[in-house]
């Protein structure tokens, strides 16, 4: 028995010593084409510059992040999270404050900067449509919520996050500047009118598949996925009217092992060139205001940046405050 205990103790020592030995930086994101692009545009450049190896992990999981911080065993150094989550997690003490002596925030889009997070990239929920599958494409949120004029299934983002509730309220005629605080009763009432016709998508790849196969010939998609569909030769149309912006954020979990390297990584990832490279690969918009200057003007035109005329900004602070309450109601409504 003593021997077994000794062996277990030895094994435990090795296990705890392992991460400390490796000075690698661990980056977690959402997988798929976006993380591939982050690897090329950010991680490989970072390794070239600093010699620090970057390990890719994911998908990001908020339950896992909380568990790591609570257990004091944080294996992620930099995490790509949704903007509303970043704002909430910062308040709840799950994140390190960012070191703005290392990260230059003067050129970062102030919409996406907090003490605990900076933007990773930003995107818009737009109205996507497969032109080969329907006679007419919905142009506005009101169209997308009108099953008389536009019969058929429509694809919407499944998770409780900024985007769908805003779309419902805009479709119901709420002016963009009066969206917040969100009138949830009104939003769910509007959503009820199209509920049987909704197919929920849980990830970007699925939204592309739904649209391309015409399983749902139209819906609310991330603009980058529409760019990718168009590039793959599918006859799609994107309506930017009242496109709803939301951002991903980069954060450092509280107790991250390579905090200093993490700050350097974020500094590089948010630099004009790195943001431009990511935007080029993904179709999402850079959060560095200097990035468009180093981008191909043709490409810059396809970004949400160029669509600010009718753009609606989801209020991350409102969502951070109300994330739990909205989430519970959202999922209960979905399950009804």
């Amino acid at each position: 028995m003593k021997k077994i205990l000794a062996m277990a103790a030895a094994a435990a020592t090795i296990a705890t010593a392992m991460p400390a030995m490796a000075a690698d930086l661990v980056f977690s994101s959402w997988g798929g084409t976006t993380q591939d692009a982050q690897k090329i545009a950010w991680a490989e450049k970072f390794t070239e510059k600093t010699g620090i190896n970057v390990l890719q992990d994911g998908p990001t999981d908020y339950g896992k992040l909380k568990a790591m911080v609570e257990a004091g065993s944080v294996t992620w150094d930099v995490v790509d999270v949704e903007g509303d989550y970043a704002a909430q997690a910062g308040k709840n003490g799950l994140l390190e404050k960012l070191d703005f002596s290392v990260i230059d925030k003067t050129k970062l889009d102030p919409r996406f900067v907090t003490d605990y997070s900076v933007g990773s990239f930003y995107y818009s929920f737009v109205i996507g449509c497969n032109k080969d599958a329907v006679d007419a494409c919905p142009k506005s949120w009101a169209d997308l919520f009108d099953i008389e004029k536009f019969p058929g299934k429509r694809a919407f983002y499944k998770w409780s996050a900024p985007g769908v509730i805003e779309a419902a309220l805009l479709a119901d005629g709420v002016p963009a500047d009066k969206l917040y605080p969100l009138d949830l009763d009104r939003a769910f009432k509007k959503l009820d009118t199209i509920k049987p016709e909704i197919i929920w998508w849980t990830g970007g790849a699925q939204s592309q598949q739904l649209l391309a196969s015409a399983e749902a010939p139209f819906g609310s998609l991330w603009n980058g996925r529409m760019t990718a569909l168009a590039q793959s030769g599918i006859n799609v149309e994107t309506s930017w009217e009242q496109n709803i912006t939301a951002a991903d954020s980069l954060v450092v979990p509280k107790g991250a092992k390579n905090k200093e390297a993490a700050m350097q990584f974020i500094a590089l990832a948010t630099s004009p060139q790195a943001q431009a490279d990511l935007a080029k690969a993904t179709g999402y918009a850079p959060i560095n205001l200097d990035s468009p200057k180093v981008m191909d003007p043709e490409l810059a035109k396809t970004l949400p940046d160029a669509q600010t005329a009718t753009q609606v900004n989801a209020d991350m602070n409102y969502w951070a405050e109300n994330r739990d309450a909205i989430g519970e109601r959202w999922y209960a409504w979905q399950a009804e």
Binding site: M1, I4, M7, A8, D61, Y62, G63, K64, K66, K153, K158, W159, S160, I199, W200, T202, S213, A214, E215, D324, G327, E328, Y331, A332, Q334, A335, E336
Partner: protein, 291 residues
């Protein structure tokens, strides 16, 4: 202090340090790992259900007092029951055929069954999605043949979940049933015929009762496994027929409300253990394989 086996061993010069099947110290590391990495985390999660956000049974009151959550519980049972029944209806003839077909052919069918079990679950589920969707192979075929003019809703609903899960669960019904049917003496059916039973009577009054242990063991296993299923319902079902495992994942990952997650997990655990107890009571662990 020498037991009977020890005494015998002395006589036949077997070394003093020998292995007996009843030696349990060699299993201790495995048991230790199980306790450390399975029992402890589960207990911690369950403890959170009565401590977060406030000590007490608030989470359980919310869970059992809400019509939405109760409907999710009901859904979980309905889907599991449906999958079990359909699996039995399809699995019984297959197991029967397997038991009587030439062994060479049977081994080919077994290979197909096992190959499907070894294929990645996610890949299989996505394959069903492609087959079943409105613009999928099955609907296109039916429309092409002129049998229907509008695509059937086969996915994102109860139909999709039932098809996808039945496909995954079938081997767990077929294998124990095959074992039981193989052991049935063909002479018994002959005897039934001699006693005047027609085919139907022989099936219902002789063959089915004899196959009952295999059917019951398989059905219970499928039902219990279905209760905790996550991937297939999440991908092939709509939000209106959400199952308990999805609710737990939502609480833990998306809402980061571990108190409610723990409470839902405990409810699922209690139901599963109760069913497992039923299984042990009636069939015992040694009969799980259909022996």
């Amino acid at each position: 202090m020498l037991s009977r086996t020890d005494a015998r061993a002395e006589g036949s010069k077997i070394p003093a340090h020998r292995l007996r099947l009843t030696d349990f110290d060699l299993t201790l590391p495995a048991l230790g790992l199980l306790v450390l990495f399975f029992v402890v985390p589960v207990v911690i999660l369950l403890a959170r259900s009565v401590t977060e956000p406030a000590p007490g049974l608030g989470n359980y009151a919310e869970l059992l007092g809400s019509s939405t959550y109760l409907r999710i519980f009901a859904n979980t049972f309905i889907v599991s029951g449906l999958v079990t029944v359909v699996s039995l209806l399809i699995g019984f003839p297959v197991a029967w055929a397997l038991a009587i077909m030439p062994s060479r052919l049977a081994s080919v069918v077994f290979a197909i069954l096992l190959l499907s079990m070894w294929t990645n679950l996610l890949a299989r589920t996505y394959a069903w999605m492609v087959l079943l969707q409105r613009t999928g192979v099955i609907n296109k075929l039916l429309i092409g043949m002129g049998l229907i003019d509008k695509p059937l809703p086969l996915v994102n609903n109860l139909t999709g979940v039932t098809i996808g899960m039945t496909y995954i669960m079938l081997p767990f019904i077929i294998l124990p049933l095959y074992g039981v049917i193989r052991k049935i003496d063909p002479a018994i059916l002959q005897a039934a015929a001699l006693c005047g039973a027609n085919r139907w009577q022989a099936l219902v009054r002789v063959l089915l009762p004899l196959a009952m242990p295999g059917m019951a063991a398989g059905a219970l296993m499928v039902f219990v496994m279905s209760l905790g299923y996550f991937v297939t319902p999440a991908l092939l079902g709509g939000t209106a027929n959400m199952m308990l495992a999805e609710l737990i994942a939502q609480f833990v990952q998306s809402l980061v409300n571990w108190g409610m997650g723990g409470a839902a997990a405990l409810v699922l655990l209690v139901v599963t253990l109760a069913l497992y107890a039923v299984q042990l009571r009636f069939f015992g662990t040694d009969r799980m394989g259909g022996r």
